[in-house]
């Protein structure tokens, strides 16, 4: 009897170790359409793309490598700096053999939460459901030489050995060419545009201070990333400054502070924004859609789209932005979409899209 307990403990330990070590060859089959989608994204969350690929139906059409690249990102894009946080599923319609499931995905990225919605077709294969993963046509850029007239500004600033009268090169002249304060519920939003009027590039930012009815300061904010910070000569950037929990009715005046700094900059890359149009998406929301084309020869890793909306009088009535989670390869179009709030949507008469680019260090 004295030996039975140790033997029992040893056997139990061995069984537990075996259970932890030995993994089943097959993953748990999905018995429902949304179960298949959820199981797929559970594996994506764990960065187990091989496991996720087991839930893909059209394995013949989709390569596992392309599937993993679609979900994990490539070319230093924003997706490569993100992880899937949450995947909500909703069955849009279903029959005995196939179903359409909407997956609302939330990624945690280096620039905040990133949302993606995918409508996925799910099919029954025997007793299990599998996802028909849409085949992603990877941009195929043929080998070529793209000639660049390398245009760049470098700055030589005043040195420590210069006499005190030696002038430094001055910061570029910038001007706020329009500004509009908007009430959005209990929030105040300042939107507008700033222009670099100089002949040199500048790093710009816009600050705003809300002054209350009694002359007191209600809040101070900056445009943060709702602006193109690097402006080339005569370039115009929209800006948006949000003041949460500050009703516009309490504001007497707004003090704007444009700041500029002379910085070295490159005129490349040039990004074209084609086929821009305002549409209504499957959820009934207004979105500004289009495609970005990198007309230069370098890869833009993280594009950031800024959209400015004007009313009939040419006044800026809204500014929205969005990051694109795909890198821009040379000459390859990449779709984008940014939200447009419903209330200004009816007044939008015109719009303008600009693109910020963030590139990883490249060997020159």
């Amino acid at each position: 009897m004295k030996r039975a307990l140790p033997i029992l403990i040893i056997v139990l330990t061995a069984v537990l170790i075996a259970m932890a070590t030995i993994q089943p060859n097959e993953l748990t089959p999905a018995t429902s359409p949304d179960g298949a989608v959820r199981a797929l994204f559970d594996h994506v969350k764990a960065r187990d793309y091989k496991g996720a690929f087991a839930y893909v139906a059209n394995s013949g059409d989709t390569e596992e490598q392309a599937f993993a690249a679609d979900l994990a990102g490539r070319d230093g894009s924003l997706r490569t700096y993100s992880s899937l946080e949450q995947a909500d599923t909703k069955v849009l319609h279903a029959s005995d053999n196939e179903a359409l499931v909407r997956a609302t995905l939330q990624y945690a990225t280096a620039v905040g939460a990133f949302y993606d919605t995918r409508d996925l077709k799910v099919v029954r294969e025997g007793d299990r459901w599998k996802v028909e993963w849409p085949v992603v046509q990877e941009a195929n850029v043929p080998p070529q030489v793209i000639q660049e007239n390398y245009l760049r500004w470098d700055v030589i600033t005043r040195g420590s050995n210069d006499d005190w009268g030696a002038q430094n090169v001055e910061a570029p002249r910038v001007r706020i060419i329009s500004m509009n304060a908007i009430a959005q519920g209990a929030n105040t939003i300042i939107v507008g545009e700033i222009e670099n009027e100089d002949t040199v590039p500048g790093f710009v930012s816009v600050g705003a201070t809300l002054i209350g009815k009694n002359g007191d300061v209600l809040g101070e904010e900056t445009s943060f990333d709702k602006i193109s910070h690097t402006l080339l000569p005569k370039e115009i950037s929209p800006f948006r400054i949000d003041f949460p929990k500050t009703p516009l009715a309490t504001v007497k005046s707004v003090r704007m502070t444009p700041n500029s700094m002379l910085v070295p900059a490159s005129a490349d890359p040039v990004i074209g924004v084609v086929h821009q149009r305002v549409e209504t998406d499957s959820r009934g929301r207004h979105v500004l859609k289009g495609e970005l084309i990198n007309e230069s020869g370098v890869t833009v890793n993280i594009p950031h789209v800024l959209a400015t909306y004007y009313d009939g009088a040419g006044k800026v009535i809204w500014v929205s932005d969005g990051y694109v989670d795909n890198a821009l390869l040379p000459q390859a179009p990449v779709p984008f979409a940014v939200d447009l709030r419903d209330d200004p949507a009816s007044n939008v008469h015109n719009y303008r899209v600009t693109v910020n680019e963030y590139m990883l260090q490249q060997d020159e």
Binding site: N149, G165, Q167, T199, P233, I236, V273, H275, Q276, R277
Partner: protein, 293 residues
């Protein structure tokens, strides 16, 4: 006359004598230790102070950035070296309880601190370049005596010059920028001193923009003619020119950069599009692209 009154008179007479003696001694002593210094001394030239009397005394000299304490022999000349009187301003000399003051004045102009503003100006603009010159001697004393300062602006082989006289050590001039863009050499000179600054004269906004469009293998290639400002200067490379094409598929825009005077952009292929061009607030011509023409 009583004995008491006689004593009072003797005492009064004695006090008077002592007072007179003290006054004489004071007068003699004052005369003997008087410090003779000139009213002004040029900076860096040194100073000799004669002294009288005998024995040793302590000399104190206090001035801008200067404090000297030295034991000197009375009756000999006291020498302050050139390196001890370099800073212009008021100096106080104290010797054996007596004081005197003198001023050290700036020497001839040896250097200029020159402020040229701004560092970039649009070409062909009047009174836009400001030069301010501060004149100093070799010890960095501001030369307060009026001095002529010549301001000379040379751009594209053309020179504009103006001579101004300093007031309290400062002279300034406002000059026009030249018609052609380019780096302007801005020189301020006075005596042997000369300082050069560079003011970049740059083109202004485009005067007009004209573009053409041709069919390209990837779509429509829109290209401007050389873009100039209203003075004929080519607009700076890197300036943004926005091409816009609007057709049934939507609006397409390209923010192109001027390179070597022209800007070009590739717009998507279309059979029926309106193409426009603009830079800043200047709008160029519009092209109705019909059937690929």
């Amino acid at each position: 006359m009583t004995k008491g009154s006689i004593e009072v008179k003797v005492k009064f007479g004695g006090m008077m004598a002592i007072a007179l003696l003290l006054m004489c001694c004071f007068a003699i002593a004052t005369h003997a230790a008087e410090i003779n210094v000139p009213a002004t001394v040029p900076a860096g030239s040194g100073l000799t102070i004669p002294s009288s009397g005998s024995g040793s005394a302590t000399l104190y000299v206090a001035g801008p950035g200067t404090a000297i304490k030295r034991t000197v022999q009375l009756g000999r000349e006291i020498r302050l070296g050139a390196d001890e009187l370099q800073n212009a301003g008021r100096y106080v000399v104290s010797l054996d309880g007596n004081t005197a003051t003198f001023f050290v004045t700036a020497g001839p102009v040896q250097s200029i601190a020159f402020l040229a503003r701004p560092s970039r100006v649009p070409a062909d603009t009047p009174n836009v370049i400001t030069g301010t010159a501060f004149v100093f001697d070799k010890y960095q004393n501001l030369v307060l005596q009026p001095q002529p300062v010549k301001f000379e602006l040379t751009a594209n082989g053309q020179t504009t010059s103006r001579t101004e006289t300093t007031k309290n050590g400062v002279a300034f001039a406002k000059l026009d920028s030249s018609k052609k863009q380019g780096p302007a050499q801005f020189v301020a000179s006075s005596g042997p001193a000369s300082v050069r600054r560079v003011v970049q004269e740059v083109a202004s906004d485009p005067c007009s923009i004209r573009m053409t469009a041709v069919r390209d293998k990837n779509g429509i290639l829109a290209r401007t003619d050389p873009i100039h400002d209203c003075a004929g200067n080519p607009v700076s490379d890197g300036t943004i020119v926005t091409f816009t094409s609007t057709d049934a598929k939507g609006k397409s825009t390209v923010d192109a950069r001027i390179r070597q005077g022209i800007a070009e952009a590739e717009l998507p292929a279309s059979n029926d599009a309106t193409i426009s061009v603009a830079s800043g607030v200047v709008v160029g011509n519009e092209i109705q692209w019909r059937g690929g023409q």
